[in-house]
């Protein structure tokens, strides 16, 4: 499997370290909501398909990367530095006006 690091270019997966699910949102550090912390630490959606993941190019430039990888095919559809702005969500398609009868 190759991961295309935004700085180094395509590199073998052995240069990278998997750092976990990229869908989690850390609760406010001051939060005492045990359910929220439990969900953050343990709950995983385990998607069969495109999954957001965090990787680190530990054997290269050491950048942390937000990667979208298909868990069924290992195809990687996007890679960006976690410091870079996430891409804007696609705009909803405009509905075609109905033709008058």
């Amino acid at each position: 499997m190759l991961i295309t690091c935004p700085y180094c270019g395509p590199r073998d997966v052995v240069e990278f370290t998997y750092q976990g699910d990229g869908n989690r949102t850390r609760p406010d550090p001051a939060s005492t909501d045990l359910n929220a912390w439990n969900a953050y630490v343990y709950d995983r959606v385990n998607i069969a398909g495109d999954q957001n993941e965090i990787w680190q190019h530990s054997g290269g430039c050491r950048t942390h990367l937000a990667v979208t990888r298909n868990t069924l095919t290992h195809k990687i559809s996007s890679v960006r530095s976690t410091h870079a702005e996430p891409p804007a969500p696609p705009k909803p398609a405009r509905k075609k006006p109905r033709a008058k009868a």
Binding site: Y7, C8, D12, G60, C61, R62, T63, S81, H83
Partner: protein, 195 residues
């Protein structure tokens, strides 16, 4: 400055080895630069860090990944976003860089005693490196001055092309002896010289 002790002292023996009947295509040696310094910019200060490096070393680095330059006894190349490795044969480079790059612009870390520099030169230098690293070292993709951060198993390495047939590899000194032995084994089939 304290005298640098080489981790290769017990294994580096000058001479010709292995397939000496072949035309020796690669020469291995240890380089002992006076200074190896890492310079890192803050998120919005990369241009100022490059100015500081240029002011101190007269080397002008491009902003693109891995861009580097070699001139006289100094060399520098990009190792990560906003991070650069600067090498000089002279001691005291870190202090000179600190004069040009204050803490508000970036951080300067003296790695001189933490890295071992190994020089690989000769017609087969590219061939030998390609045995160890999954990186394209061809002249078109990896011209003189360019650098790269990569690893061979757990041995992290930063590599710069110094001339057409000469590369310098910077490895953690604790891995240097093991990596040196691996390099020698890799070069055996073609024969190699140690200087």
């Amino acid at each position: 400055m304290a005298e640098t002790l080489s981790p290769l002292d017990t294994v580096l023996r000058a001479g010709r080895y292995a397939n000496t009947a072949a035309k020796i295509g690669v020469t291995l040696s240890e380089v002992s630069p006076g200074s190896i310094v890492q310079v890192a910019a803050w998120p919005d200060t990369e241009a100022k860090v490059l100015e500081g490096i240029a002011k101190t070393t007269k080397l002008k680095l491009g902003g693109e990944p891995g861009a580097g330059a070699v001139s006289g006894n100094v060399a520098a190349f990009g190792i990560a976003p906003g991070r650069f490795l600067v090498i000089s044969e002279d001691e005291g480079l870190a202090d000179r860089l600190l004069g040009a790059i204050p803490a508000t612009v970036g951080s300067v870390t003296d790695l001189s005693h933490g890295r071992t520099a190994i020089r690989i030169e000769g017609e087969k230098a590219e061939w030998l490196l390609a045995k160890f690293f999954a990186v394209d070292f061809s002249k078109a993709k990896f011209p003189v001055g360019r650098g790269v951060s990569t690893n061979h198993h757990d041995v992290f390495a930063q590599i710069q092309r110094r001339t057409e047939n000469c590369f310098e590899v910077y490895v953690f000194r604790s891995f240097a002896r093991s990596f040196w032995k691996a390099l020698c084994h890799g070069a055996e089939e073609n024969g190699y010289e140690v200087r």
